[in-house]
Amino acid sequence: MRLSWRTARLVERRAQTATARTLVLTVPDWPGHLAGQHVDVRLTADDGYQAVRSYSLAAPPDADRIELGVQTVESGEVSPYLADELPVGADVEVRGPLGNWFVWRPEETRPALLVAGGSGVVPLAAMIRAHGRAGTAGPLTLLYSARTPDDVWYRDDLDGGGERLDVRYVYTRRAPLGSVRPPGRVARADLDQAVARLVKDSPVFVCGPTAFVETVSDALVDLGCSPDAIRTERFG
């Protein structure tokens, strides 16, 4: 079966940070997707020129509504338009769902670790929301590296996730007043605590900029995680 382009209508846009947006689109007859998957978004200019980029799905499917996370890339061709210009009520095209590897399934009963760098939190947020709906899934730990408290996406979901979701923030530039941990990049000590909650072959998902994913996944292997259990998605 060939994936076709579908018309998708922007129905809602919400700010996550100063430069990050949630876009809610309706896609008639959307086939559904798994947490962690992405879609291609295609834009068409008046002269027929087209540009395509991939965006992660930020939530499990909700009938024909899908939610994307868009981080504005300075002088980017597509992201500034999606983040701030595409009018609510207007159409774009999407193709998907794509990516059958970086996915978390609700039947997963082992504890899992999610490690996010910046906007790498988007597909992991879909996993956290799918996990919230699945009563029997194993506990989740999210280790979330952000520059400052103002750069955190999905704060309400993450802080209201209940007992089966443990969220640790790591701030790299500025931490909130009174923080015990000084600002700095994710270090072995941060990962050590998170790994301690895992069992043998627990799935680990790491998403973020390339350098972040390289550092974190190398450290996880050093800490005893099986390379086969670590799934990664890199950008930038």
Partner: protein, 202 residues
């Protein structure tokens, strides 16, 4: 066809250049993004080997030094990743697959490339012959870095870059076509960027 102008109103996009070098649905980039399914294996050159195994089980293995002693080529190619970036005029150094396959007696028509770390990808053997594919160990004048597939990777630039197996350890020649890692989870079996063969069914 839907009338132009009814989609993404106000979208202009970048300057329309380079289109003859850019496969459909791709955008040019100056950076070198990374697509890998898991952690990066760190493979030392002193333990590195590259093995070609035929369908009858015959095999031939090269050590790092033996590979470096083969005729080296400087290669300039455009590369295309299924995640939609393309990069023009990338500079590589390595050995043509024709050199490794020269004395191999085989009736196989397919290849499974294998990698340190467990990655695999499948290709028709014909796509590795005729000056179209290499084992490369240098990029842009330097040793190929681990995140880009070092110490050595396959380079098959006429196919999407996931076919250019990073951390390559060998080629297994087969009579049957066996899907590799990404080919088993939704990527196209062949992966021609000019025919936009990204996913199953494309």
């Amino acid at each position: 066809m839907r009338p132009v102008g009814s989609l993404s109103p106000g979208f202009r996009g970048r300057a329309r250049t380079l289109t003859d070098r850019l496969p459909p649905g791709q955008y040019p980039t100056e950076s070198f993004p990374v697509l890998s399914a898991g952690p990066t294996p760190h493979v030392a050159t002193d333990g590195w080997t590259f093995t070609v195994t035929t369908e009858t089980g015959d095999s031939r293995t090269w050590t790092w030094q033996q590979m470096m002693d083969l005729p080296q080529e400087d290669i300039v190619q455009d590369i295309h990743c299924v995640t939609r970036w393309s990069k023009f005029d990338t500079h590589w150094r390595g050995v043509s697959l024709d050199v490794f396959l020269e004395d191999v007696e085989t009736a196989a028509t397919y290849v499974k490339a294998t990698s340190y770390g467990g990655y695999t990808t499948n290709l028709p053997l014909a796509d590795l012959r005729g000056g179209k594919a290499w084992i490369v160990h240098g990029y842009d004048g330097f040793a190929l870095s681990p995140e880009h597939g070092g110490p050595a990777r396959l380079l098959v630039p006429h196919l999407y870059l996931w076919k250019s197996a990073k951390w390559v350890s060998g080629l297994r020649l087969t009579r049957e076509d066996e899907p590799g890692f990404w080919e088993s989870v939704g990527y196209h079996n062949y992966g021609d960027p000019w025919r936009e063969q990204r996913n199953w069914g494309d």
